[in-house]
C-alpha cells in the first residue's frame, strides 16, 4: 500500500524548512527508497518515505521532528546516506536528509578538535585538518562517509585505529535533537563551556547517546559534534596525481609504509601486541594477500583464482600479513620507529617488505591508505560485497575468528554462492594499544545475480552459528531477525536498548527498525541440522534475568 502524507503535515514541513527543501514527489521519494548496499531482503529497495525534508539548521531539524510527532509520522535521518541502514525501515517515515547541514563549524588547532555538521565527509575534514598539521579518523567504509554519523550513530572503525582509535572514542561534545524535538547538548557544550570534553562539565551521556553500535537513526538526530583531531606530521597537502588505482603521491621523508609478513596468525597477533606496547604506528590493517590483487587488478585475479594451489600457496607463504604506516615527527623519528618495527617483526619470525623499495606501490598506497580510499574497490570484483562479524573484540580472538570464518566462506564459494576471494579477506584493524581489534570479513558477490542472493540468508545464519560456537560477538546485531536471536545470548542488550528508547522517545517517533525491532528469522532455506544446532547453542547460552549462563 502506498502511503501518502497529509496536506496539513506537509505544509508544516514546508513551514519548517521552506517549500524548496521538502518533497513528496514520487520520483524524489523513490530515489530515497533505493538502498541496495547490505540490503539482502528486498534488493534494492527499502520502504519509501512519505516525504523528504532538507533542514539547514538544528532549529529546522527540531521543527521537522515536532511536525512529524504531531501527525503520527516517524522520522529517520541520514548524513551521507550509504547503506540500507540509512533508509526507512517502515511506512510513514519522513526522511530527513541532512545534506544542507554541511559546515565545518570550527577547527581548533590548539586544542586539536573540530566541530562538524552531519554532511561533512571524512575527506573534506581531513583535507582541512591537514592544512593545520592535524588529521581526523576516517572509517573503513571510506572518506565519503560522515564523521558525525560514525561518531554518533553507527560503529566507526578505520585503519587509522592504531593511532586514532574508533569514532565513539573521539566525541568531545554533541548537539542532539531528541526524538521529542528537544535539543540537548552533551559534554562540555552542555554547560556552555566549549566543545572540548564529552564527559562534561555538563551531561555526559555518551553511552546513552550511542551505546556500543549506535542507534542507526533510531534515537533522534545528531546535528553537531566535536571530534578529537590527531597529529599529522605530513605536508598541508599531499601532492598527488591520479585518483585511486592510478594515484601517485609525493611521499614525505618522515612517512614510511611496510608490509609485515608472519609465519602464522599467532605470531602476527603477538607482533601486534608488542607494537601496541611500543606505541608506534599511524595506520595499520591486516589484509589477505589476494585482496590486493582482487581490488587492484580484478581481471587478473579472476584469471588466476582457479589456478591449482595458488590459493594454498598464497595462504601458506603470504597468508598472515599486515600493512603498517609509520609517521615520524621527523626523518630521524621515522628511522627510530622503523628500527622498533623491524625488531618486533624479527622477534616474531616475520619479515618486512619495505615499500620504499617499491616506489610505485608506496606512491600509490600512502594516500589511499591515509584517506581510506581503497576498501570500496572491493566492488570491482563482483559489483557488491557484504561483511560478516563486524565486531570489536580482543585481538587474539579476532584472529581466531578470521580463520574460522574463512572455512565458512570456502563452503559458499565452492557452491558459487559468493565469489571466491581466496581467503578470509578480513577488514581487520587494531586499536586501543592493539589490545582490541575490529574484524569484518568481506565476501564479494553480484547482487544482480539471483544465484548469489540465494546464498545470502544461509551465509548470515552460518556466520551467526559460527560466532556463537566460538563465543564471539556475531555481528549482524542491527538486523531485526538476528537481534532476536542474539540479544538473549549477549546480555539481553536489546532489553536495555528498549528501555533507553522508551525513556528518550516516549511516542516512539524515531524509526527504530534497526535499533530495537525484532522479527523472526526466515529459516525456510536453512538446513534443519543447522537450525537444530543453533537452537541447542541458544538454549545453552541464553542469559536469564539473573545473569549469564553457567
Amino acid at each position: 500500500m502506498i502511503r501518502v502524507i497529509s496536506d496539513e503535515a506537509y505544509k508544516e514541513l514546508e513551514a519548517a524548512v521552506g517549500p524548496d527543501n521538502v518533497s513528496r514527489l514520487p520520483v524524489v521519494l523513490d530515489s530515497y527508497a533505493f538502498q541496495p548496499f547490505e540490503n539482502h531482503e528486498s534488493m534494492p529497495w527499502c520502504p519509501s518515505p512519505v516525504a523528504v525534508a532538507l533542514p539547514s539548521t538544528t532549529e529546522e531539524v527540531s521543527e521537522v521532528i515536532k511536525a512529524c510527532n504531531r501527525h503520527g509520522l516517524k522520522h529517520k535521518a541520514f548524513s551521507t546516506g550509504w547503506g540500507m541502514w540509512c533508509g526507512p525501515t517502515t511506512d510513514n517515515v519522513v526522511q530527513i536528509d541532512l545534506r544542507r547541514m554541511n559546515q565545518i563549524v570550527e577547527i581548533d588547532e590548539k586544542n586539536q578538535f573540530a566541530i562538524v555538521e552531519p554532511y561533512v565527509c571524512g575527506a573534506q575534514l581531513q583535507a582541512e585538518a591537514m592544512k593545520v598539521g592535524l588529521n581526523t579518523h576516517i572509517i573503513g567504509a571510506g572518506p565519503n562517509t560522515s564523521p558525525l554519523a560514525s561518531a554518533t550513530s553507527m560503529y566507526g572503525v578505520g585503519h587509522d585505529g592504531i593511532y586514532m582509535s574508533y569514532s565513539a572514542r573521539n566525541v568531545l561534545g554533541l548537539e542532539w535533537v531528541q526524538p521529542t524535538g528537544e535539543v540537548l547538548r552533551l559534554g562540555s557544550p552542555g554547560s556552555d563551556k566549549g566543545w572540548f570534553s564529552g564527559d562534561g562539565p555538563g551531561p555526559s551521556l555518551r553511552g546513552t547517546m550511542r551505546g556500543y553500535t549506535g542507534a542507526l537513526g533510531g534515537m533522534g538526530v545528531f546535528t553537531k559534534v566535536a571530534l578529537k583531531l590527531f597529529n599529522w606530521p605530513g605536508p598541508p597537502q599531499v601532492k598527488s596525481s591520479g585518483t585511486v588505482v592510478d594515484l601517485t603521491s609525493e611521499i614525505p621523508e618522515n612517512i614510511g609504509l611496510y608490509m609485515c609478513f608472519f609465519p602464522n596468525a599467532d605470531k602476527l597477533a603477538d607482533a601486534y601486541y608488542d607494537i601496541g606496547e611500543a606505541e608506534i604506528g599511524y595506520n595499520s590493517l591486516k589484509v589477505a594477500t589476494p585482496a590486493f590483487m582482487m581490488v587492484l587488478a580484478p581481471h587478473l585475479f579472476k584469471k588466476l583464482k582457479d589456478t591449482k594451489n595458488l590459493s594454498r600457496m598464497l595462504g601458506k607463504t603470504m597468508g598472515h600479513l599486515f600493512l603498517m604506516l609509520l609517521a615520524g615527527t621527523s626523518k630521524e623519528d621515522l628511522a627510530h620507529q622503523e628500527r622498533v618495527l623491524e625488531a618486533i617483526v624479527d622477534e616474531h619470525d616475520g619479515f618486512i617488505l619495505d615499500q620504499k623499495n617499491i616506489p610505485p606501490l608506496k606512491s600509490n598506497f600512502m594516500m589511499n591508505f591515509i584517506r581510506a580510499t581503497l576498501p570500496a574497490l572491493v566492488f570491482r570484483i563482483g559489483g557488491s560485497f557484504s561483511t560478516a562479524l563486524g565486531r570489536n573484540d580482543s585481538l587474539d580472538s579476532q584472529v581466531t575468528w578470521g580463520e574460522a570464518i574463512a572455512d565458512i566462506k570456502r563452503g559458499y564459494a565452492s557452491k558459487g554462492q559468493i565469489i571466491d576471494d581466496m581467503g578470509d579477506n578480513p577488514y581487520f584493524v587494531p586499536y586501543e594499544s592493539n589490545m582490541f581489534a575490529h574484524c569484518e570479513v568481506v565476501y564479494p558477490y553480484d547482487h544482480r545475480n539471483p544465484r548469489y542472493l540465494e546464498g545470502s540468508n544461509n551465509i548470515t545464519m552460518d556466520f551467526i552459528i559460527g560466532a556463537v560456537e566460538l563465543c564471539m560477538e556475531a555481528g549482524f546485531g542491527t538486523l531485526p531477525p538476528a537481534r532476536k536471536i542474539l540479544s538473549p545470548l549477549t546480555s539481553n542488550y536489546n532489553y536495555w536498548q528498549k528501555k533507553f528508547s522508551e525513556a528518550f522517545d516516549p511516542d516512539q517517533g524515531s524509526d527504530k527498525g534497526l535499533y530495537t525491532d525484532e522479527t523472526e528469522f526466515d529459516f525456510s532455506e536453512i538446513a534443519p541440522e543447522r537450525v537444530a544446532k543453533l537452537e541447542r547453542l541458544v538454549k545453552e547460552r541464553t542469559w536469564t534475568e539473573l545473569g549469564p549462563p553457567e
Binding site: 520520483v27 523513490d30 533505493f34 565519503n144 566492488f379 559489483g383
Partner: protein
C-alpha cells in the same frame, strides 16, 4: 541501445555517493570538494548521478510514471560527466553517462519534451545550427581569410568551426585566429563556410537521436568529399561528438580528429610555431568537459558482463585532452599557470552543457558562478579555456558580476604570443 539495456548498470549502483564528490584523494578543501552541479544546486538525491539512475530503474519497474516533472529533473543536468568519472574510480561496470543519455532519449520517445529544447531542435532543422541564426551567415566569420573552400576544392585539413564560433560575435575573431594560426604554420586548411552544418551533438544530448544521426551523416559526407586527412575543430563539444558519439552511432569519421589545442601543441613541437612575445599574466585553466573527460575517444562497446569488460573499453575520462592545452600554456613566455582544485577528469563544469543554458538559465548561471569563484580563489588574473561554450558563459558571468578576472580563449593567447593577432578579452 535503450534504457533497458543499462538495467545492470543501474542496479549496480550501491548509492555510495562517490558520484557527488571529487575523487576523494583529490579533495583539497571543503570548499571545492563537490563535483556535480545538479545536486549542488537542487540538493535532493534524485538530482545526483545515482539518483538519476534510480529514476531509470523506477521508470523501468513502473514505480514512477514519466511526466513533466520527472522530465524536468532529468534535463536539469549538464551531462558534464563528472559523476561518471568519479564513479569509475571505484567501479568498472557502471556507465552513468550512458544512462543519463538514455533517459533523455526515453523522454523524447515518450513525447515529454521541454519547450526550450524543442525550439532549439526546430532551429537546428530550419537553419542547421543550435543558435537559430541564419544558415546563410554561417560562413561570415571567415570573410576575407586566406583559406580554401572545401565546396570547391580539396584540402589536407578541414577546419570545423562549430555553431558557437560561427555565430557568436565575440568568438568569431577567435575562430579566424584558429585558421590564421594553422595557416601561419603552412597548413593547408579548408572550411565549408555556409555549408558547414552543426555536428548534431547537442541534439544527441537532448535525446533527439534521429536529428543527431542526420547531422552526423552531413558531416561525414562533407569530410569524405573534402579529401582531408585531418579534421580540426576548436569547439570542445564538436570534438567530443566526433570522437565519441559519432563512432558510437556507427558513423566514425575516417580522418584524424584534433582539437585546435592539440594542433597548436604539435606545431610547437615541430618548431613550425614559436611563441616570441612575453605575456606576463597569471592564469588558471578550465578543462572543458567535452574536451576533457568527454573527449575520450570511443573505444568500442562491450556486449558481455561489464564486470569482465577490458579496461581499455572502460570510459574513465582519464584519456581526454588535458595535457595539450597545458603544454601550450607552458610554452607561452610569461604565463604562469596556477591550477584550480578541480581539474582534468574531475573538473567542475562551466554550466553551459546538456541543454541547461537554454532551458534553465539560473541553474546554468549558478554553475558558472561556482567555477568563477574557484578560478578567483587561485589568485589568477585570467581564466583560460578551450571551448566557445565555456568561454561564452564565463564572459557573461564576469561581465555581470564584475569579477576581477579576465577570460581568454587559449588560441587568443597563442596568437598574441606568436605575434599573429591581438587578443580579444574581457
Amino acid at each position: 541501445m535503450a534504457l533497458e539495456d543499462y538495467r545492470r548498470d543501474i542496479e549496480g549502483c550501491s548509492r555510495c555517493s562517490s558520484c557527488k564528490w571529487v575523487p576523494y584523494n583529490q579533495i583539497k578543501s571543503w570548499r571545492f570538494s563537490k563535483n556535480c552541479p545538479s545536486i549542488y544546486r537542487h540538493n535532493f538525491h534524485t538530482y545526483s548521478g545515482s539518483g538519476r539512475m534510480v529514476i531509470g530503474l523506477s521508470l523501468l519497474e513502473g514505480r514512477v510514471e514519466l511526466d513533466e516533472t520527472v522530465a524536468e529533473i532529468i534535463y536539469k543536468c549538464q551531462l558534464c560527466g563528472a559523476c561518471d568519472s568519479a564513479c569509475k574510480t571505484y567501479r568498472d561496470d557502471i556507465d552513468i553517462s550512458e544512462v543519463l543519455l538514455e533517459l533523455r532519449a526515453y523522454c523524447v520517445e515518450q513525447g515529454e519534451l521541454l519547450i526550450e529544447h524543442m525550439a532549439m531542435i526546430d532551429a537546428l532543422k530550419r537553419e542547421g545550427n543550435t543558435l537559430g541564426e541564419p544558415k546563410a551567415q554561417r560562413g561570415d566569420w571567415a570573410e576575407g581569410l586566406d583559406v580554401k573552400d572545401v565546396n570547391a576544392e580539396t584540402c589536407d585539413v578541414l577546419f570545423h568551426a562549430g555553431c558557437r564560433y560561427s555565430y557568436d560575435r565575440d568568438a568569431r575573431q577567435t575562430a579566424r585566429g584558429h585558421v590564421q594560426l594553422m595557416r601561419s604554420a603552412g597548413m593547408g586548411v579548408g572550411i565549408a563556410g555556409k555549408e558547414e552544418s552543426c555536428c548534431g551533438g547537442r541534439a544527441y544530448e537532448l535525446g533527439y537521436r534521429g536529428e543527431a544521426a542526420n547531422y552526423a551523416d552531413d558531416v561525414l559526407s562533407l569530410v569524405k568529399s573534402s579529401g582531408a586527412k585531418t579534421l580540426v575543430t576548436a569547439c570542445a563539444d564538436c570534438y567530443s561528438h566526433f570522437q565519441y558519439v559519432y563512432p558510437k552511432m556507427g558513423k566514425e569519421l575516417p580522418v584524424e580528429i584534433l582539437h585546435v589545442s592539440q594542433v597548436t601543441e604539435k606545431l610547437l613541437d615541430s618548431g613550425k610555431l614559436r611563441f616570441r612575445r612575453k605575456l606576463p599574466l597569471s592564469v588558471t585553466y578550465h578543462d572543458p568537459c567535452h574536451l576533457g573527460r568527454k573527449g575520450e575517444p570511443f573505444a568500442g562497446v562491450w556486449k558481455g558482463d561489464k564486470l569482465d569488460r577490458p579496461m581499455n573499453l572502460k570510459r574513465s575520462g582519464r584519456k581526454g585532452v588535458y595535457d595539450a592545452p597545458r603544454n601550450v600554456i607552458d610554452e607561452i613566455p610569461g604565463l604562469e599557470l596556477t591550477e584550480m582544485e578541480r581539474i582534468r577528469e574531475y573538473a567542475w563544469c562551466c554550466g553551459a552543457g546538456g541543454g541547461v543554458l537554454e532551458a534553465f538559465e539560473d541553474f546554468s548561471a549558478s554553475t558558472t558562478a561556482e567555477r568563477i569563484a574557484e578560478a578567483l580563489a587561485t589568485g589568477a588574473e585570467a581564466l583560460v579555456t578551450s571551448c566557445p561554450w565555456c568561454l561564452r558563459v564565463f564572459k557573461d558571468a564576469v561581465e555581470e558580476t564584475s569579477a576581477c578576472i579576465a577570460v581568454y580563449d587559449l588560441t587568443d593567447l597563442a596568437l598574441m604570443s606568436a605575434g599573429i593577432a591581438q587578443p580579444a578579452a574581457v
